[in-house]
Every structure is written in structure tokens, then in C-alpha cells.
């Protein structure tokens, strides 16, 4: 790919003053890229972070030629919400060892959506643990793969050991409306939680 500015670069509307971010996290092939792509108004972009084995971000790039570094891809999309506010969605893999990446991603983030797959629920624990340690509130969405076992939501809630207030819903990451409804459930939860903290 040519690295000159893409002809389809879409700039932000002129009045935009504030940018917020939400994370879309989960294990490999759970549907993160699909989810971000279904919602984004721009062609989803991809960038990368370089980390040491210990998970620290490498910004001394002399170190990136070192064989011990790992590159992690982030894909992200954009949703303009009104004349002044824009939302960015960052899809990121859930490995705990990428601590530098987590710090960068979660700083200032409003919250996270954990995508889960009923065929591999156990693979969601790691990322849920990371979010809990970092204190970032989240909702869980079961991405509907057609061949997935038909677990009831109560059963899944128990298997994932979710707090009663944590939203759990089904979604189809390929569908814009379903993906939008899923984010609405997440943000409604974040708002309710903030309200409770204020009145605590």
C-alpha cells in the first residue's frame, strides 16, 4: 500500500471539539474487527504498537529491531455523534501481558465492550480480569456465530461469573443496528454507574 495520504481520508467535521473512546476487546477471531467495521463511518484503520516481552511500549525504536519485541495490531473506527462530539472505537486483543498497550488504551476511555463466543467462553476470562484490574467498566456481548451452542443468557452469566449489574446481551457484529444497540446498552450502563457513584 502506498503510504501517501489515502484518497479516501475522511476528515472530521469542522465543529468537532471532543473525542471519546470505547474499547472493543476479546480473544482472537471473536469479531472485534467485524464489530468496529460495522459501525465505523470511515474505512477502519489499523495501526500497531511495539512492545517488549514484558509488555512495555517501545518508543525507543532502536529497541524494535530487537528480536524480543512483539507487534500488536489495533484496529479502530470512528462514529461522529453530533456536531461537536466524535467517538472512536478501538478493537484490541485481550492478552494481559501487553500492559503498556492497556495503559495507553484505557487512559481516558469511557468503558469497554467484551465480545465473547459461546464456543470459547473460557477465553474471555483473561480480558475481563485485565479490565477489572484497571478499573474500566464493561458490558459483555455474545457474538452470535451460527454454529455456536445455544446457551441461555443466565447460564452464560453464571459461567462468566458476572456481577449482577454487568450487562450481558447477544449481538451480531456484522450488523450495524445490532452493534449500535450493543453500544447503547454499554453506555447506558456506564451512565447508570456514574449516577450511582455521584450519589454514593
Amino acid at each position: 500500500m502506498d503510504s501517501a495520504p489515502d484518497s479516501d481520508t475522511v476528515y472530521l467535521p469542522e465543529g468537532v471539539q471532543t473525542a471519546v473512546k470505547l474499547l472493543v476487546v476479546g480473544h482472537f477471531a471473536v469479531g472485534k474487527t467485524t464489530f468496529v467495521g460495522a459501525l465505523s463511518e470511515i474505512r477502519p484503520l489499523r495501526t500497531e504498537e511495539v512492545m517488549t516481552q514484558a509488555g512495555a511500549l517501545v518508543d525507543d525504536l532502536a529497541g524494535t529491531r530487537d528480536k524480543t519485541t512483539t507487534t500488536v495490531a489495533l484496529d479502530f473506527g470512528r462514529v461522529t455523534l453530533n456536531d461537536t462530539l466524535v467517538l472512536y472505537l478501538f478493537g484490541a486483543p485481550g492478552q494481559r501481558r501487553f500492559t503498556g498497550l492497556w495503559q495507553d488504551l484505557t487512559r481516558g476511555a469511557l468503558g469497554a465492550l467484551v465480545l465473547a463466543d459461546t464456543r470459547r467462553l473460557d477465553q474471555s476470562f483473561e480480558v475481563m480480569g485485565v479490565l477489572e484490574e484497571l478499573g474500566l467498566p464493561y458490558a459483555v456481548a455474545l457474538n452470535d456465530f451460527d454454529d455456536g451452542p445455544g446457551h441461555g443468557l443466565d447460564e452464560v452469566r453464571e459461567a462468566l461469573d458476572l456481577l449482577p449489574a454487568t450487562p450481558l446481551l447477544r449481538c451480531d457484529a456484522r450488523d450495524r443496528v445490532s452493534a449500535t444497540e450493543t453500544l447503547i446498552a454499554l453506555v447506558a450502563h456506564l451512565l447508570a454507574r456514574t449516577g450511582e457513584l455521584e450519589h454514593a
Binding site: Y11, T47, L61, L85, Y88, I184
Partner: protein
Amino acid sequence: MTPPGRRPGERLVRSYVVTGGRSHPSRNTLDLVTLLIAALGPPLTGLSPEKRRLMELCRPGALSLAEVAGHLELPVSVTKVLVADLMDSGHLVTRTPIPSAGPPSDTRILQEVLDGLRSRL
């Protein structure tokens, strides 16, 4: 996306060159969603090719730091170094992401996000 034929690591070697091997951005406040706006004024003469490319990308309108990294195919950490330099030299101005003023402003922002998402259904 690495085109066929490009050796792994090649981009990073180039990245190392573009930041002059210097490591830490002078502004730790830079975030993935910091909005970057080209300042009217300082000429691009004397800028390194990578900084010039970044400025040319930003000229037509605002973009987030993550978008700039994506379009230029540079790691986020390298982009931060370039952006910090361009802020210091007066070429770029930024709009900081969500002011971390605490719960009341969080509530207002979250309500705005919720309304914005609902309006898209």
C-alpha cells in the same frame, strides 16, 4: 498491511530514522484520540520528510492521532514523537480528549454519547 516483498521490520527501521532515534515524546499528554489540527503559519521548509508528510495529511482538516498513525503506517509511539515535535515547533495544535474533570462532566459526556448513538438507530 505489509505489501508482499517488504521485509518484516523494515518499516520500523525507517521509523527509527524518522524520529532521529529519540525515544520519549516531550508531551506525555498525547493520547490516541487527541485531535490534531495544522496551525496556519509556520512553513514546512526544514521539516524532515516524515514530518512534512504528517503536516500534509493534517492540512485539509482535523484527525485524531490514531488516524494519523494509521494513514502514515507508523506505530503510535513513533507518531507521538513526531506530533510532540510539531507541537513544539508550532506546526500543530491539539484538542485534548475528554476533559477529566470528574463525574459531572462524565455524566454529561456519557449522556451525549448515548443520545448520539440512539439517533443512529
